[in-house]
Symmetry: C2
């Protein structure tokens, strides 16, 4: 069994928040951490369905929100009005650049951003929860940039 650490974190979170510990929720966690890259809630549901899982759509949506709340996943939006999730587990802070022509997503880390959200919150009288910084751009190399 993999990701024992993540399961541990999730179990602790569920207990603290007085949410029930169910096998379905851990099944969603398993699949979410296994997923390579960003995924929509429905992508995960369909993947699980195809893998003969019996977990329902409602449970997938519900559980993904819980996993965001306990910090194991991040919820992103790349401008197409679909919520996408991404594992935070063992990953460093990063932001996203999306090619508006081919849809490619590049992850980057830039030290100039690191504590900017925190500073801005302090200036404005808020407590930071999270932030999203997306750059929309075009590949300079047109050979590898294919419209889908």
């Amino acid at each position: 069994m993999k990701n024992e650490k993540a399961e541990e974190i999730f179990r602790k979170f569920l207990k603290e928040e007085k949410n029930r510990i169910t096998p379905e929720r851990f099944e969603v966690l398993e699949y979410a951490l296994e997923y390579d890259g960003h995924f929509g809630a429905d992508d995960l549901f369909i993947l699980m369905k195809n893998s003969k899982s019996r977990v329902s759509r409602a449970t997938v949506y519900n559980t993904l929100e819980l996993l965001v709340q306990c910090g194991l996943l991040s919820k992103r939006n790349f401008g197409d009005n679909i919520s996408r999730y991404e594992s935070n587990f063992k990953r460093q802070q990063h932001d996203h650049l999306i090619c508006v022509d081919c849809g490619k997503i590049v992850e980057f880390s830039d030290s100039r951003i690191f504590n900017l959200p925190e500073k801005i919150c302090n200036d404005l009288g808020f407590e930071l929860d999270s932030y999203s910084f997306n750059i929309f751009a075009r590949c300079k190399d047109k050979k590898t940039c294919k419209k889908s």
Copy 2:
């Protein structure tokens, strides 16, 4: 008649792109510039419907995209999977802080962000199109922070 300058810009854009110049499109422009703050496409459609306008939903959606393309509006997403628009007309560059408790949106300008998207694009081999920088936070002053 107000916003002659914006109409001028829109007319020029439509001509250049070989899009037709129709009264419906200018009616959408008029309402969009008049709208105070951020609005969803459907908000605008309903407002226009209530004002006895005969413009259709499809035309509103279509025209708002054109207005984004010609730079008169910005399209934003504040994490709830709804596209929101905002007039760029006579406004300076700014970003948004959204209170996750009460939904309040605060606009801010921070010089540390100004040319960051451009620089990052250069580093990564892309041409900047646009960017979105949203901070999600909580009001420190709980008296003015009401859950909706």
